[in-house]
């Protein structure tokens, strides 16, 4: 009975997908639940799932002890600023690679990507020293530049892929129609590549938001984003799991909500051109 087998297989795949999905989601769910427990309940053995006394106390303590909004603002500034700067640099770069490629374009793209394979800690020392010399340590401007640079290869790669999907003849038509380079980029290329640019922006915003290595090493107080906010609740004061969870929940909530609302755009952008 082919139909029965097909239904059965469908059920099985669905169950498997849900299982994997929940497995991936579980740590976030657990963090979220733990943030409403008392410290004692948080470390209880056996662990408590839903049957505990729900409390908002951790959130109150966290907000009282550290100024959440300041960290949040820094995160928004760093993620937004580095993404915007990255797009400003990345669009012209990707345009030239996609539409006026040279013999070395492929090599340059690979070389750019290869910088992502280098362990970040390898360049921590030089960058730290440069930051001290330039007075950029614990400044938002300095961090915006660093975050932009580390994400630039991804920005250029993504934009390059999207731009490649746009027929060159349309840009040539714009040129024939009297558009200069600026108009061509502004009125023709950018609107056509908008879905791609949007998903590049989203992905890079998320990457910059979650970036912890550089934000932890190059900030202290003034420029510290939410990653530093979470970190301040981990080791030094002992193991306060409930408060750490509350801090984590507060840190990831904005980006989770952003991701939730833009998931359609993200998926569309990331699979752009895959099916024609």
């Amino acid at each position: 009975m082919p139909r029965a087998i097909r239904t059965q297989r469908k059920l099985l795949t669905t169950a498997l997908a849900w299982f994997v999905g929940l497995l991936i989601f579980f740590p976030i769910l657990w963090t979220f639940l733990t943030s409403f427990k008392t410290e004692a309940e948080a470390v209880a053995n056996p662990p408590l799932f839903l049957n505990f006394d729900w409390t908002l106390e951790n959130y109150a303590v966290v907000q009282e002890r550290s100024d959440y909004l300041r960290f949040l603002w820094n995160s928004v500034f760093l993620a937004g600023g580095s993404t915007l700067l990255g797009i400003l640099v990345g669009v012209p770069a990707a345009w030239s690679m996609a539409f006026v490629p040279s013999r070395r374009t492929k090599d340059i793209l690979l070389w750019m990507l290869s910088t992502k394979m280098l362990p970040a800690v390898g360049v921590l020392y030089p960058i730290y020293l440069i930051f001290i010399r330039l007075g950029l340590l614990d400044t938002r401007v300095g961090l915006v530049v660093v975050l932009m640079l580390i994400n630039l290869p991804i920005i250029v790669w993504m934009l390059y892929t999207y731009f490649r999907e746009i027929p060159g003849e349309i840009l040539e038509a714009a040129r024939m129609d009297g558009a200069n380079l600026r108009s061509e980029l502004l009125y023709v290329l950018t609107p056509m590549a908008l879905p791609g640019i949007a998903s590049t922006v989203l992905l890079n915003f998320i990457l910059a938001w979650n970036e912890a290595f550089w934000t932890l090493n190059l900030t202290a107080v003034d420029a510290a984003p939410l990653t530093a906010f979470i970190a301040s609740y981990s080791s030094p004061e002992g193991l306060f799991f409930a408060k750490l969870s509350a801090a984590s929940t507060m840190a990831i909530a904005p980006i989770l909500i952003l991701g939730w609302f833009s998931q359609k755009q993200l998926v569309r952008g990331l699979t752009f051109g895959a099916v024609k």
Binding site: P167, E172, A173, M176, N180, P191
Partner: protein, 334 residues
């Protein structure tokens, strides 16, 4: 005005020279067709004139002024692309208005010109649609509309009809010819389809391997092809090219005779063969004849229906006045 002059123009991509040194003058108001097999350099030549490619050497003059170093936008030419190249995110109206916006024309003037173009091209009711909602023929008309609003010195067409189906192609062919009559603007049209070339052109430029083989009116090319390549390329079905003793008797290496310049008989004639495949078009019948020395198959065009079957013996008599003689290099012998 729209005279375009090419002086010793060449183009190389790396080591490969795709356009050999070439001189050509296209007169104001003329409809010129560049025709040739794929890879002959006809599109490259058009793109050089447009400014989308830089010449490797030589000069391009538009209305007597040196345009060699000008960017496409400054040459005052408009181009219609094979893929239409419409802006998918703009309405038809905004597509047509785009070149005018780039020229910073006033709102009122833009509206007036767009309306006018829409009228000429029957696009009125589609002005607020997106290109994606139009058929191929309509899209092509939008592309033409975008070209005419600028009132360019010349129009460049790069195989504009090859994405359309056969019926639409014939219709659009007429429309473009009509447009040329109406506007009187210089037009350069690139195609690999010799029927398009023959039906539309005032003058045809036949290209092969980056070299101009012949320039002339459609009938000149048809009646007096200057070499074997042009003889074979212009005319459909192709000219029969006969080699061997039959050609030698006429003092040529190759003898050419068009399928329509032969008389068909069941009983008499100098050349004898047997009927192979016949193609019945209703108005004409194309017969492929086997067994004629020096050319196999041999094509004959007969008017109307012909009652001949596969394997029947036939005799052919060429129209002596219409024979073309070519020497060993393929050049025409007068």
């Amino acid at each position: 005005m729209g005279q375009i002059r090419l002086e010793q123009v060449t183009k190389s991509f790396g080591e490969v020279q795709v356009i050999q040194p070439l001189d050509l003058t296209l007169e104001d108001g003329e409809f010129t067709v560049f025709v040739g097999p794929s890879g002959c350099g006809k599109s490259t030549l058009l793109r050089l004139i447009a400014g989308l490619e830089d010449v490797s050497s030589g000069r391009i003059l538009i209305d007597g002024k040196d345009a060699t170093a000008l960017v496409p936008a400054k040459r005052g030419l408009a181009m219609v692309f094979q893929s239409y190249a419409l802006y998918p995110h703009m309405s038809v109206r905004r597509n047509i208005a785009f070149p005018l916006r780039m020229a910073r024309m006033s709102r009122a003037e833009i509206d007036r010109r767009v309306e006018e173009a829409a009228e000429v091209l029957n696009l009125r009711e589609y002005l607020d649609r997106r290109p994606g909602q139009l058929s191929g023929g309509q899209r092509q008309r939008v592309a033409i509309g975008r070209a005419i609003v600028r009132e360019p010195a010349a129009f460049l067409f790069d195989e504009p009809l090859s994405n359309l189906d056969a019926a639409l192609r014939v219709g659009m062919r007429m429309e473009i010819s009509e447009l040329h009559k109406k506007l009187g603007t210089t037009m350069i049209y690139v195609t690999h389809d010799q029927v398009e070339a023959m039906t539309m052109a005032d003058r045809i430029v036949v290209l092969q391997g980056g070299i101009i083989e012949q320039v002339g009116s459609p009938l000149e090319l048809y009646q007096r092809p200057c070499n074997q390549f042009v003889a074979g390329f212009i005319g459909s079905p192709r000219m029969n090219l006969i080699e061997g003793p039959e050609a030698a008797r006429e003092g040529a290496t190759t003898l050419g005779i068009r399928p329509e310049h032969l008389r068909l008989s069941r009983s008499e004639g100098p050349w004898e063969g047997t009927v192979g495949v016949s193609e019945h078009l209703g108005s004409d019948t194309f017969l492929h004849i086997h067994g004629i020395p020096g050319c196999d198959p041999f094509t004959v065009r007969a008017s109307g229906e012909v009652d001949l079957r596969h394997g029947d013996a036939v005799f052919l008599t060429p129209d002596r006045a219409r024979l073309h003689r070519f020497d060993a290099e393929g050049r025409r012998i007068e």
